[in-house]
Each structure stands twice: as structure tokens, then as C-alpha cells.
């Protein structure tokens, strides 16, 4: 199981252990963290799982698919390190991953 850290927009960190290879979106929603909605449940149809990947990790994740990139293009507050949380599975090798949550909508 991987241990990852979510940082709220206000700076508050949360250490989470992802026991079921959940996605970055599911990890946040299951733990009721603010700033991650995950409306469509991970079916790449809503864009409400937007988050920022810590600079040190951006290149260590599998790159976004064409569809994820297309959806990211329309997202407000998008930055170069933006990703959709539902498209990243927290596999064991992601221990230490740091995810920055956007401000709560």
C-alpha cells in the first residue's frame, strides 16, 4: 500500500494510505478532503477531480492520455502540473506522492 499526502489549498496536509490502489480522486473523496468533487465517479466526464501534482512528481507519473489532456484544457485554474485525479491510480510505487488540492468550489 502506498502512503501519499494531499495538501489542501489552505496548506493543511493530510497523509493517506491507499490500500486498494484507489485513484487520486477516490483517495480524496473517501477521506472527505475539500477541493476534490469527483462528480462522475472517475469516468472522465466531469473534470471535477482537477488537482496539481507536486513538481517533484510530475514526471514520475504515467503521462495523461489524449482524452485527459483534452478535458484539462477547459479547466479553470489549469497549470502545467494539472492532472485529473481520477486518471491516476495510487500504485505501491507512488509512496511519497504529494497532491495539491485546488480551492473548494
Amino acid at each position: 500500500m502506498a502512503k501519499v499526502t494531499y495538501v489542501e489549498a489552505t496548506g493543511v496536509p493530510h497523509d493517506i494510505s491507499a490500500d486498494y490502489h484507489e485513484s487520486v480522486m477516490e483517495g480524496a473523496v473517501i477521506n472527505s478532503l475539500p477541493g476534490m468533487e469527483g462528480m462522475c465517479g472517475g469516468m472522465l466526464s466531469c473534470g471535477t477531480c482537477h488537482c496539481y501534482i507536486d513538481a517533484a512528481w510530475v514526471d514520475r507519473l504515467p503521462p495523461p492520455s489524449h482524452e485527459e489532456r483534452a478535458m484539462l484544457e477547459n479547466i479553470e485554474g489549469r497549470r502545467p502540473n494539472s492532472r485529473l485525479g481520477c486518471q491516476i491510480r495510487i500504485t505501491d510505487d507512488l509512496t511519497g506522492l504529494v497532491i495539491h488540492l485546488p480551492p473548494e468550489a
Binding site: D19, Y20, H21, E22, E26, V29, I30, E37, G38, M39, C40, G41, G42, M43, L44, S45, C46, S65, H66, E67, R89
Partner: protein, 391 residues
């Protein structure tokens, strides 16, 4: 005092006036006769769907208790089991993967329409929408086409409701038992073969890899046989009916078929095929100044959420130019419909092919028949006529 009876025929006919009263007068409603609670405003529905630790799916998502032939599946589990089960399949239902099915769906749709093409008459449900999602699912599962007819019969029997009968009919129970035996056999035989790319192969891989157990595999197979069978069918029917009711919108869609997707999304808001799902409270919880006790059934009224005037401007207007995906017709959050990308693609192609054949059409309203269900809203029969172009 407003009364909401999810089993009454009047409710099934037109639930929307009652929903409005619930939202205004009883945003947290308690029905004493059947002993359940209900939320009807958009934000309350969302809040309940979001809070899975208080509003659990593990005791089933129907108002009544679960019937005996039910297995645990993604719809009836909470995290973490839900997460584990969902990921066995979730990659396969991503939009990019589903998009590969376009040709299969289109050719299946055309072959279903072919016999009606020259006649000028078709029953949207019985001839078309009631068959298309099932046939596609059988191909996705990898079932041989010669089994289509019996699988269709079993599942049709199981979803059929009878006036005054709550839950399954005798034929429905038999259908589920037969489907169960069939699926046991599928698992046994397919486990010995080399695996391919179909859904059964993925399930068997999950089973052999210890990610799901045998009962969960059976649960998945049963769920997949029904998933979309009711809801996608009714969605297609409701869209065709609502467009007929709104001729100016229909004309826009006929003139510009790229609007079909928006019409489907608006149907999901305005006249959702899923009207109600239940959760069970795991502890006492306060809402709108009252306490819902632990162990209570809580109904989430999707159909009402879509008409909430607190959320939508002019909610009772069927308007396909809205921000179309801002609805909970496919649910919300972790339990949001896994098959939504497939339902969207099937509905879009089904309607494209249908409109190409019919142009404008007339619903034979006197001969329509709606389904009587607390959960699902739509037609069992939706006969209509269209003009056959002269050769």
C-alpha cells in the same frame, strides 16, 4: 400534508408535481406507511450520495429489502470494497475505450431498424431501445449470438413489473435463476480457455488473480446483464418522447444531429430514467431540523433533483442549450454510473440512426404504456409512426 407514494400509479404517470411539493414543503420527507425517508432538493441529494459512511449502499439501493437472488456488486457495496470491485471494470468503461464500439453499435442499431423501415411504424421500446443495449452487452461480455434470445427473455422477465406486485414476478425469479445458472456455466467453461479482451475475460482474470471472489464475479455478470437494459432503454425512450412533446426542439435536432448529445443530457435532467435510489443510514443523522434514525431507508429522488428551482433556472422547460452535464441523472460521486460513457454513446447512435429513418414522427400516445416501478421511469411500449419516403 404532501404525500409521496413511490408505488402509486399516479406517481409513476407524473411524479413532478409531487416532487415540487416535497422540495417546498417537506425537503426531508418521512413516509410512515412504508417507513422510509426522502430527500428531493438537488443539494440534499448530492449530500446524501456523497456521504457513504452515513448513507450506506451495503444494504441494497432499493426501498424494500433485497431479494434473495441478489449478489453483492458495485452498486451495493461501500468503500473500500466498492473501490476494489469498481476497478476490476472501470478502465474498460472509460470513454476512449467505449468509443471503439461505435461501429458495432451502429450496425446493430441499423439491423434492428431494418424491418420497420418500410412500414412507417415502430415501437421505440419493443422493437428498438429495449433490445439494443442488451445486444451490445452480450457482445461485450463475449456471449455467443445464438444465446441472445434466451438472455433477452430472462432479463425481460426479471425487469417486468406487474400491477399490484411489489418486486419480482414468478417468471422474473425464474429468469434470474436461469441467468445465474448460465453465468455459472460461463465462468466454469471460460476459466479453462485462453482469455481475450471481453468483459468476461477481465472478470475471470480478476477472479484468478484474487481481486474478486466467485460470488462477486457472479454479481458482476448479473449486474452487467441488467445494467443499461432498463436504464439506457428508458433513457432512449424518454428522449424520443420528450422531443416529440417539444416539436421546436425536435426540429432543431433533426436539422442539426450534433445536438443529439445535448438532448440526451437534457433528458437525463428533465425526465431521468432513474428516479429513485435508496441508502441505509448507519447512524442517527440530522437533516432539516429532524433526526433520521440509524438503520432507516433514505430515498434519493434523482428525478426531483433535476427539477429543483434552487439549482436550475426554469427547471420545467426542456432546454437543450443548458450546461448539459450539470445533472445527477447518472448519479453523483463514487457510485456514479460506471456505464455512463456506454449509455451516452449508445443513446446518441441509437437516436442518430432513428432520426435518419423517421424524420418527424408521431407518438401514438393512447397506446403507450409506462413502466410501473419505484425506481425507473419510462415506457414499456412507445409506438409511433413516421412517413416512409416514396421511392
Amino acid at each position: 400534508m404532501v404525500e409521496f407514494d413511490p408505488y402509486s400509479y399516479a406517481t409513476h404517470q407524473n411524479p413532478y408535481p409531487i416532487y415540487r411539493r416535497l422540495r417546498d414543503e417537506a425537503p426531508l420527507y418521512h413516509n410512515e406507511k412504508y417507513d422510509f425517508w426522502a430527500v428531493s432538493r438537488f443539494e440534499d441529494c448530492k449530500a446524501v450520495l456523497k456521504n457513504f459512511s452515513v448513507f450506506s449502499s451495503a444494504k441494497g439501493i432499493e426501498l424494500q429489502g433485497r431479494h434473495d437472488v441478489a449478489y453483492s456488486d458495485v452498486m451495493t457495496t461501500d468503500p473500500p470494497h466498492h473501490t476494489r470491485l469498481r476497478h476490476v471494470m472501470s478502465e474498460l468503461f472509460q470513454p476512449a475505450k467505449i468509443a471503439e464500439l461505435e461501429q458495432l453499435i451502429r450496425s446493430t442499431a441499423r439491423s434492428l431498424l431494418a424491418p420497420c423501415r418500410g412500414s412507417g411504424r415502430i415501437d421505440m421500446i419493443a422493437d428498438y431501445a429495449g433490445r439494443l443495449p442488451m445486444l451490445i452487452m452480450c457482445r461485450l461480455l463475449g456471449y455467443p449470438p445464438e444465446d441472445d434470445a434466451r438472455i433477452m427473455k430472462w432479463t425481460n422477465d426479471a425487469v417486468h413489473t406487474e400491477e399490484g406486485v411489489q418486486g419480482l414476478t414468478a417468471a422474473g425469479i425464474e429468469g434470474l435463476i436461469n441467468l445465474g445458472k448460465y453465468n455459472e456455466n460461463v465462468i466454469a467453461t471460460r476459466s479453462t480457455l485462453s482469455l481475450s479482451d471481453d468483459l468476461v475475460s477481465h472478470l475471470i482474470e480478476g477472479l484468478q488473480g484474487g481481486r474478486i471472489n466467485h460470488l462477486e464475479t457472479m454479481g458482476y455478470l448479473q449486474l452487467l446483464a441488467f445494467a443499461g437494459h432498463e436504464t439506457t432503454t428508458k433513457l432512449m425512450g424518454n428522449a424520443v418522447y420528450q422531443l416529440w412533446k417539444h416539436p421546436a426542439v425536435l426540429q432543431d435536432v433533426l436539422d442539426d444531429p450534433s445536438l443529439i448529445g445535448a438532448a440526451i443530457e437534457e433528458t437525463l435532467r428533465y425526465d431521468s430514467s432513474v428516479q429513485l435510489q435508496a441508502r441505509t443510514t448507519t447512524r442517527d443523522v440530522e437533516m432539516h431540523g429532524r433526526v433520521v434514525p440509524a438503520g432507516a431507508k433514505m430515498a434519493v429522488l434523482f428525478g426531483s433533483a433535476g427539477r429543483d428551482e434552487r439549482k436550475y433556472e426554469r427547471p420545467d422547460v426542456f432546454d437543450i442549450s443548458r450546461n448539459s452535464r450539470d445533472h445527477i441523472g447518472f448519479g453523483y460521486g463514487l457510485h456514479s454510473c460506471l456505464g455512463a460513457p456506454l449509455a451516452r454513446l449508445e443513446s446518441r447512435i441509437a437516436l442518430e440512426e432513428f432520426f435518419k429513418m423517421t424524420g418527424r414522427y408521431e407518438v401514438d400516445e393512447a397506446n403507450t404504456r409506462i413502466v410501473h416501478s419505484a425506481n425507473v421511469h419510462g415506457f414499456n411500449l412507445l409506438p409511433l409512426s413516421f412517413t416512409v419516403p416514396a421511392r
